[in-house]
């Protein structure tokens, strides 16, 4: 304990070995362990990272002169743009295509002889190897006019159910089931259908629910078609938006 060494030092200085420490019931001022040591013991990555960074800093020589302060105007090498810069014509789009190196010129002796056909690449490699990025045409997303309604669409409104879901790449195997935890809570909240007030889901004006929001099994609809609905409603009522435009019965 820290206070023990203090008492020993005081006893030695006063040449009074009989001095003993008494706490009188008070909490010791000094802690039993340094909190910093606990943290570094629990998280060794922190200590290792700081040590590694310090080693790197020692290996890199510091600049002879202190760097110029960031505040207080542009650096001395700053050259202001010319006054007519804004009115200058644009140099045009930048060519981002990958420069293909020019083939090396063949030696003169070989020009007379017919060139052998280049070896064909292994078909398996040619199929698997994708083309270089620059040669793959990418669809450019359209720019919306500033005044259009779509341009002002709310961020989360853009996340309406997609019209066509991509075909899953894994036909065999059961889809992952949420057994509990965050995903189950999330799916449960999402399955309640009605989104939170600030981000209402855009509904189509056709009077029909999106397919993803229809909860009645198709077999039940077929049964209602065959036997008739006991409530007198249309068998297809489950497909319609409540309060929406009435469709054919």
């Amino acid at each position: 304990m820290g206070q023990d060494s203090d008492v020993v030092r005081v006893a030695a200085a006063l040449k009074s070995p009989g001095i003993r420490y008494r706490s009188f019931g008070n909490e010791p001022v000094r802690g039993t362990a340094h909190p910093q040591a606990d943290v570094s013991n629990s998280f060794p990555l922190l200590g290792a990272a700081i040590e590694a960074a310090a080693t790197e800093a020692r290996s890199v020589p510091m600049p002879a002169e202190p760097s110029a302060p960031l505040a207080g105007g542009p650096p001395a090498s700053f050259i202001p743009l010319p006054a007519d810069y804004a009115s200058r014509p644009s140099p045009g789009p930048v060519d981002l295509s990958y420069p293909v190196p020019a083939p090396a010129p063949a030696p003169r002796q070989a020009e007379a002889a017919p060139r052998p056909a280049p070896p064909q690449p292994d078909p398996s490699i040619a199929e698997a190897a994708p083309r270089p990025v620059a040669s793959t045409p990418q669809p450019v997303p359209p720019r919306l006019p500033a005044g259009s309604a779509e341009a002002h669409q709310h961020l989360l409104q853009a996340l309406a159910p997609p019209a066509v879901l991509p075909v899953p790449a894994f036909p065999p195997g059961a889809p992952p089931q949420a057994t509990g935890g965050t995903l189950a809570a999330l799916l449960g909240a999402a399955a309640q259908g009605v989104p939170q007030a600030p981000w209402p889901s855009p509904l189509p004006d056709s009077g029909l629910l999106p397919a993803a929001q229809v909860t009645l099994p198709l077999s039940e609809v077929m049964r209602l078609v065959a036997t008739g609905s006991p409530s007198g409603k249309s068998p297809f009522a489950a497909f319609r938006i409540a309060g929406g435009r009435a469709g054919p019965q």
Partner: protein, 261 residues
């Protein structure tokens, strides 16, 4: 044999953390797993307990066409690990140009690793569009796209839907079918996080592979250089990741089936 790419249209979403913990969970589920770090941040190794100063990796050796089998590190949890390696900016740019000229520098050794039918490869990719993602997406069995339950991630969902995220041109629709999304750091206490997560769940439907709740234990596990299951196996995030690993395992062929040519 299966290749699982863990990618993200933006950085800072916990992609590497998820990749490391998914690899470990798949290993505990009885799979032989190799985790490969394609991200120049070279952070995957830290989750598996490698020292900060250990900067060795396969990328620095790539121009010499090394045998990747010899570079695999054996970790305490049993997952094989190929760290990216520490690289400076000039070497990284040169390597990028070399990969653009000759994609086989990367693809040939990866295909050699994938030839092992019992092996599951979990690839941690750099955030955003990247050369490794462009090369690996066409041969991946599953691309796990990690998003946060925030507005920026929501704004990037069209990039995933359209296939622009994978950068696969006219094959985008095909590759998009292999994409599953994981929502990370979902905070049930946050109104915005909840709203975004619910909107994404409705939008993604079956493409939502799982959700991981915000949990301090995740960050503490990395700081302690342990995987989450080692440090806090009963934490909420650990259970969420376990569930995602089960979902992935259900999508993959069973190990016995994988041995059949």
């Amino acid at each position: 044999m299966p290749l699982i790419c863990v990618a993200a249209p933006k950085g800072g979403v916990g992609k590497t953390t998820l990749a490391a913990n998914l690899a470990e969970a798949l290993h505990r589920a009885g799979r032989c797993v190799l985790a490969i770090d394609f991200d120049p941040q070279n952070a995957l190794r830290l989750h598996f307990g490698l020292p900060v100063r250990d900067g060795a990796g396969f990328v620095t050796e790539l121009p010499q066409r090394p045998d990747w089998q010899e570079l695999v590190r054996h970790t305490a949890c049993g997952v094989g690990l190929l760290p990216h390696g520490t690289n400076d900016i000039h070497a990284a740019l040169r390597l990028n140009a070399a990969l653009e000229r000759e994609p086989e520098l990367l693809l040939a050794p990866l295909r050699a690793m994938l030839a092992d039918p019992a092996l599951v490869v979990v690839a941690d990719l750099p955030p955003g569009p990247s050369h490794p993602l462009h090369l690996l997406a066409p041969i991946a069995d599953l691309v796990v796209a990690v998003l946060l339950a925030d507005a920026t991630s929501a704004a990037l969902v069209p990039e995933i839907d359209s296939g622009r995220f994978l950068g696969t041109g006219t094959m985008a629709a095909l590759h998009t079918g292999r994409v599953r999304v994981v929502l990370n750091q979902v905070d049930p206490q946050s109104r915005l996080s909840r709203a975004v997560a619910e909107a994404l769940a409705r939008h993604l439907g079956p493409r939502l592979l799982g959700a991981v709740c915000r949990d301090e234990a995740v960050a503490e596990a990395l700081a302690a250089q342990h995987l989450l299951h080692e440090l806090a196996p009963e934490s909420a995030a650990a259970l969420d990741i376990e569930e995602i690993a089960q979902g992935i395992a259900a999508l993959l062929p069973a190990p016995a089936e994988a041995a059949v040519p």
